[in-house]
């Protein structure tokens, strides 16, 4: 099976108005391989996925499927050839059971025309067995974890006889353990002869799962290499078009002044946690998904109630009843999922930036000229790429959206920044900029508590790392002890 191209793209070009989204993409996919597709946001990955699934027709170029050449695909044609796409957003029916999800739209029927549940369950069980996945087929999907849900989506693709499976950042929100669950399934699928296109920002993951890696930049194919032949630095260089010395470059500026002190905090998902955070320090919170990191940050920020324990901010004992109290005390929280609870997506950049500021200021009237100049200043300072501050943030890239969130908090001048996954879903260039901003913050004497699942940024950026497990801190690392190996062994 190996080295038989089942899909070939030749010189695919696609314009949206004057904007050239794809500018001559060429690569091929073999049966039984995992091909990683890497590139910054805006490199053309999404457009390319839509071209392969038949949603977009290219302006020129050829698509060869099993030796037959097409100028464009239609969704129906893509389906007939067994091209399945798993998009970033979950499209499962949350209230239906796993096996029902596998058969939505093509339910099996008895000879009387009624739904044949036993047969559907049997088939579903077979597919899960083939994938080597431990997902209960009669569980309701909403009760499953993120990785299990992606596995259900994969099983659904298998059930529709997928020959080519496109996975668009399937593991974007997963912890290490969940990623591994999903990868085991991907490997099984690969070994059964399915060609898999795997899109990811995580170079560690790409290295782990892919056989080959194709890098896109500005709508062009930049490189196409076997995974064993490629250095991480070279890959990054291909993606952003310049060399980066290190993933992140950190200068220590820790002071001895304590900014935040928590003692024996108990809260939902947090079990007796004590920490101190100094001014000018970056303290990392590592751990698996569900270890209690988000819950700890919420408890500190006052958005989830604290059952017992003590919290001191700049030496003063505080009891936060709501985020409002925490904000007044100089704390801010950059949440995990900016689209769900970080941004007002349909509102302008200006509105997003000035609302927390106005709220904290407790004034009654908006000073528009001042609000505008403040927003403009932030946009310039953080290099947010937006046509005008009046434009809605919905259409900004992930990196720019994250910077808008940073801007809205910087406008309130907090002393303590709580970050929950500071660089989730943003491209490498934007990541570097976020790292630089965090560095600037601590140099100015702020304190940063940062929960992250990305080990490279935890290791590269943090002065100290607290590793959490089951709602408790199992180990605190500092200096030379901070390594991926030590963190993982403490987290498991």
């Amino acid at each position: 099976m190996v080295d038989t191209p089942i899909l070939i793209l030749r010189n695919i070009v696609k314009h949206f108005g004057a904007n050239k989204a794809l500018d001559g993409i060429s690569f091929h996919l073999n049966a039984g391989e995992v091909l990683a597709l890497c590139g910054e946001n805006g490199a053309g990955k999404s457009t390319l996925v839509k071209t392969m699934s038949g949603a977009h027709a290219p302006d020129s170029g050829q698509i060869v499927l099993n030796g037959v050449t097409y100028p464009e695909l239609t969704p129906r044609l893509a389906l007939e050839y067994g091209i399945s796409t798993i998009y970033q957003e979950n499209i499962l029916f949350q209230h239906l059971k796993v096996y029902e999800n596998l058969f939505v739209g093509r339910e099996l029927r008895t000879k009387h025309g009624l739904i044949d549940r036993p047969l559907m369950m049997e088939r579903a069980r077979d597919i899960m067995k083939m994938l080597g996945a431990d997902v209960p087929i009669d569980a309701v999907v909403s009760e499953l974890g993120g990785a299990q849900q992606k596995i259900v989506e994969t099983a659904r693709a298998v059930n529709s006889d997928a020959k080519i499976l496109i996975m668009d950042e399937p593991s974007a929100s997963f912890g290490k353990h969940e990623v591994e669950l999903l990868f085991k399934v991907v490997e099984r699928l690969r070994d059964s002869g399915v060609g898999i296109i795997f899109i990811s920002h995580h170079l560690e993951e790409v290295r782990r799962i892919a056989n080959r890696v194709v890098v896109l930049r500005d709508g062009k194919t930049i490189s196409d290499k076997q995974i064993n032949d490629v250095e991480e630095q070279a890959l990054i260089k291909d993606m952003i078009g310049r060399t980066v010395e290190e993933v992140c470059h950190h200068v220590c500026s820790t002071t001895s002044e304590i900014a935040l002190e928590i003692e024996n905090i108990v809260a939902p998902g947090v079990n007796d946690v004590s920490l101190t955070l100094n001014r000018g320090e970056i303290l990392g919170l590592a751990g698996l998904v569900g270890a209690g990191r988000t819950e700890l940050l919420s408890a500190i920020f006052g958005s989830k109630p604290i059952t017992s324990g003590m919290l001191r901010v700049q030496g003063k004992v505080q009891k936060f009843k709501s985020p409002k109290d925490a904000i007044d005390a100089g704390i801010c929280l950059i949440t995990e999922d900016r689209k769900i609870d970080g941004l007002f997506l349909n509102q302008s950049c200006l509105a997003n930036i000035h609302i927390p500021y106005e709220t904290k200021r407790k004034g009654q009237l908006v000073n528009w000229p001042k609000a505008r100049s403040m927003a403009k200043e932030m946009v310039t300072k953080l290099r947010i790429k937006v046509g005008s501050i009046e434009h809605s943030v919905k259409n900004l890239s992930g990196g720019n959206q994250q910077k808008v969130i940073l801007a809205k908090w910087m406008a309130t001048h907090p002393q303590i920044y709580l970050f929950d996954e500071p660089t989730r879903g943003i491209d490498i260039g934007a990541k570097q900029e976020v790292y630089r901003e965090i560095q600037t913050l601590i140099e100015a004497g702020c304190a940063v508590l940062m929960a992250s699942s990305e080990l490279s940024e935890v290791v590269g950026l943090c002065d100290r790392v607290a590793v959490m497990k089951n709602g408790q801190i199992t180990c605190e690392l500092a200096g030379a002890d901070i390594s991926e190996h030590n963190i993982i062994s403490a987290a498991l």
Binding site: K324, I327, L333, T335, I340, F344, A351, V366, S392
Partner: protein, 332 residues
């Protein structure tokens, strides 16, 4: 010299043009723009069919007719921007009017009556806002229940009969100043104040934030519960004001006097470009919306179209506005 004067007029014209553009941008977004054009087109067509439509008498009539619904529409606009809805307005107006009419017939001083009417509406609304937000209930269902409760109380209170005012308390609803009915001034005043609040106060900006994303607003430091109670209370104040004007204008308090007001005001708000999903809506849009619905009903009466057809026309306009709204792309 002639050249110079020519340039001056040209520059003046340009100035006027840019001033006009500034005004346009200030009030008119990409949703109320088309609505304004549609409204003007409709007025032109009706005026061509029946010139009496543009008589001073009729314009005054239309404005008077939309005033009460207009005031409540502004309240509904605040609610809908905050992602709330209030189905109880019609019967709350009726209940408040019945209470005020009863007090009036007991020869209470006007100040007491006014205070009683406003306090009743503000406190009932604030209470329902508190319960809805605190217990995280669906405002649609709760206010549907309240609608029935208010109706029942008003019927019990009046035994189903109207309470005549005997020519008392007439100035508010029937008075005129410079030949323009007082309710029209109040309505326009409410619009201007509401516009100022939405545009220039922190409360107004927070309204859009809370309506668009409750959780993000909470995490941005807004006390969402307190905020929503304030929105309901403000809405209640407008409902109380509308009840007073309506009672004064028709000269009775009756348990059914404002039945259907909830649908009329929700329709006007939605025609004006507000989204039931919250976070979107403008005072100017809602003003145009309520004016449009009022003009349709008035113009149909003038050209002699039966009420039955008016309902159909109304429905067509509401659905048409929603379709037009869904087709307009956001500025980006």
């Amino acid at each position: 010299m002639p050249d110079l004067s020519h340039t001056t007029t040209n520059a003046q014209a340009q100035n006027a043009q840019s001033a006009l553009r500034l005004l346009w941008n200030k009030f008119i977004d990409n949703r109320s723009g088309p609505l304004l054009i549609a409204l003007i087109a409709y007025i032109v067509i009706i005026a061509l069919i029946e010139p009496r439509f543009l008589s001073l008498y009729n314009i005054r009539n239309v404005m008077l007719q939309v005033s009460v619904a207009g005031i409540v529409t502004i309240g509904m606009t605040l609610m809908i921007i905050a992602r709330q809805i209030d189905l109880s307005v019609g019967f709350l107006v009726s209940l408040a009017a019945c209470v005020m009419a009863t007090l009036l017939n007991l020869d209470m001083p006007i100040a007491v009556i006014v205070l009683a009417g406003l306090t009743l509406c503000v406190s009932l609304q604030a209470l329902s806002g508190y319960v809805i937000s605190k217990l995280k209930l669906e405002p649609f269902i709760v206010t549907l229940g309240l609608m029935a409760i208010y109706r029942g109380i008003a019927l019990l209170m009046t035994n189903g009969a109207e309470i005549p005012l005997d020519r008392k308390f007439q100035a508010l609803g029937r008075g005129r100043w410079l030949e323009i009915p007082i309710p029209v001034f109040i309505f326009l005043g409410v619009c201007i104040i509401a516009w100022l609040i939405l545009r220039h106060t922190v409360f107004g900006r927070q309204l859009y934030a809370v309506g668009e994303n409750n959780e993000a607003a909470h995490l941005a430091g807004i006390n969402v519960l307190k905020f929503k109670v304030q929105v309901y209370a403000l809405h209640g104040l407008l409902v109380g004001l509308a009840a007073m004007i309506l009672m004064s204008r028709i000269g009775v308090g009756s348990p059914n006097m404002a039945a259907g007001l909830e649908l009329e005001t929700i329709a006007a708000t939605v025609v004006g470009g507000a989204a039931l999903a919250g976070g979107r809506g403008t005072v100017f849009g809602s003003f145009l919306g309520v004016l449009f619905l009022g003009i349709i009903s008035n113009s149909m009466n003038i050209i002699g179209v039966s009420t039955f057809w008016q309902y159909i026309m109304l429905g067509v306009v509401v659905i048409g506005a929603v379709i037009a709204g869904s087709r307009t792309k956001d500025k980006s």
